[in-house]
């Protein structure tokens, strides 16, 4: 069990930065990712949400899922297969929110399924950001 995580970790460096401040933890709620709703002043931007929406443990699970399950079609190294290549180079120019929407709702008429039944919106965004990041080989 621990070995699996380690193998995955050997391929990439886990990045757990940043996202915490970006989104409120709204699991599987509205169709579009919604930024944290502030009742008060714009100064709220300076006070990030207390807990990250995707816990480090869940990030490890998602990373495993990306490598193994997304890898079934896109290749373990994301260089493509039945699915398109989705390396950081291939995804340059996409915005993470758009990628997250594809992950959540799939691409009708293709083999890309909607993952919404299995992951939350913040998780999809985490995956999108993760895919776009250059990994250390």
């Amino acid at each position: 069990m621990a070995d699996t995580g380690l193998i995955a970790a050997a391929c990439v460096v886990v990045m757990s930065v940043g996202l915490a401040a970006t989104f409120a933890p709204s699991y599987r709620s509205p169709p579009a990712p919604s930024p944290a709703v502030d009742t008060g002043a714009s100064a709220a931007a300076a006070t990030p949400a207390p807990a990250p929406p995707v816990s480090p443990a869940r990030q490890a699970e998602l990373e495993h899922m990306v490598i193994q399950d997304c890898g079934s079609c896109h290749g373990l190294t994301m260089k493509g297969g039945l699915g398109k290549p989705i390396t950081p180079g291939d995804l340059a120019g996409f915005d993470p929110e758009g990628l997250a929407a594809i992950i959540l709702d799939g691409v009708p008429g293709t083999a890309m399924p909607p993952w919404r039944p299995l992951i939350s919106e913040p998780e999809a965004l985490w995956i999108a950001e993760y895919l776009m990041k250059e990994k250390t080989e």
């Binding site: 069990m1 070995d3 380690l6 193994q68 373990l76 297969g81 039945l82 799939g106 399924p113 993952w115």
Partner: protein
């Protein structure tokens, strides 16, 4: 990880020494090869001892890898995602040769005379054919499409389906291996995702992702006769998401019926082999990936796409009912029966082990440590058409 590596080293030493000094003769009939998909390695396993003998490394990206055996059961030809074609000597436990033959490949086959290795490619598509001894290129057949379901057909022939164009191509290398005679079979259906050849070499069955139903091609007819089967299954039911494409290879005829995975439905479909008519369906625990008949055809063992990939169900081929639901491990990717069907070996990717069950009592008999194992291949495949 360190522990795993040490275990691996401990495994390699004795097996290599055994084979190289020649002091102990052995056959390969009870050996097998397990793909370790994330680490680019394969494990050579011994059925009789239910144990790993050694590990061979350096095979590249083995996501969706498969392999085929030489007629003498000594060499495994491993087809990797990264376009790699590796020839592994399972007796000496060495990587004898390796070439990168394309950008992105999906599977391969060996000709019935054991002389040619064909590989089907996603990038740039088509099929490449190599000399089985040297891996020197013999023929390149561009098809303008990703290719799936490559299988050997008796008479130095291969057949493959094209994902983008929905055709099947029959390649006959018997007269001139470098210039195969090509028979294109159009209108096989939208987006074939995999295909298989029945063990008699007669019927090529193509699974379709882009439309309902499957297509059978009778290769004993001249020209090959195309027939659509089960065209209406699930027509009035909403499609469920498919998180992993089903596979057809490894399947065998259960009695006089085809038992096939539905796509987008959590069902196994039954069709009469002679008429192609649907004769029933069995509700199962998820999107079926492999529907594999025990060698006697009396039972079918089914594994599933995520998130149901921790389960394996056993279906009685007489009653079509699920008789067992097993949970052999996390991330069960493949099942392989021992040649006479007594044991079934299953890879539990997320538990890093291969688990071995008695196929009659459903009791666990043993397990073998392996790194993210996927396909399990026993050498008896060397003598079966279509594998």
């Amino acid at each position: 990880m360190i522990r795993t590596t040490l275990t691996a080293l401990a495994l390699i030493a004795p097996a290599a020494a055994l084979a190289q000094d020649g002091s102990t003769l052995r056959g390969t009939g009870d050996l097998g090869v397990v793909i370790e998909r994330a680490t680019g390695s394969v494990l050579v396993v011994d059925q009789s001892d239910r144990a790993a003998l050694c590990r061979v490394e350096g095979l590249g990206d083995l996501s969706h890898a498969s392999l085929t055996f030489s007629p003498d059961e000594r060499y495994a030809y491993v087809f990797g995602r990264d376009g790699g074609l590796s020839k592994v000597d399972i007796l000496a436990c060495t990587l004898e040769n390796r070439i990168i033959q394309a950008g992105n490949s999906i599977g391969g086959a060996i000709s019935d005379d054991g002389r040619l290795i064909a590989v089907s490619n996603y990038e740039p598509g088509g099929v490449n054919v190599f000399d089985a001894d040297t891996l020197a290129p013999v023929a390149e057949i561009p098809m303008g499409s990703k290719t799936v379901g490559l299988a050997d057909v008796p008479g130095s022939r291969f057949i493959v389906a094209t994902w983008d164009d929905g055709e099947a191509w029959l390649l006959d290398h018997s007269a001139d291996p470098a210039n195969p005679q090509i028979t294109r079979i159009p209108d096989v259906g939208a987006n074939p995702y995999d295909a298989l050849l029945t063990s008699d070499g007669r019927t090529y069955i193509v699974g379709l992702f882009g439309e309902k139903g499957l297509t059978t091609i009778d290769l004993w007819a001249d020209p090959p006769a195309v027939r659509r089967i089960l065209p209406d299954y699930g027509k009035n039911e909403p499609d469920l998401p498919v998180y992993k494409m089903p596979h057809l290879q490894g399947w065998t005829l259960a009695g006089a019926t085809y038992a096939l995975p539905a796509v987008g439905l959590h069902q196994v479909l039954w069709a009469d082999a002679a008429s192609g008519q649907e004769i029933g369906r069995t509700d199962v625990a998820g999107q079926p990936v492999f529907v594999t008949a025990r060698p006697d055809g009396r039972e079918l063992w089914v594994n599933f796409a995520p998130p149901d990939n921790g389960k394996v169900q056993v279906i009685d081929s007489m009653t079509h009912e699920v008789k067992q639901t097993l949970e052999p491990g996390r991330g069960v990717l493949h099942m392989e029966f021992t040649p006479r069907g007594r044991e079934v070996w299953m890879s539990a990717r997320d538990d890093d082990r291969v688990v071995i069950y008695d196929s009659r009592t459903y009791e666990k008999l043993g397990e073998i440590e392996a790194k993210a194992p996927s396909g399990i291949f026993f050498t008896a495949r060397a003598h079966r058409t279509g594998l």
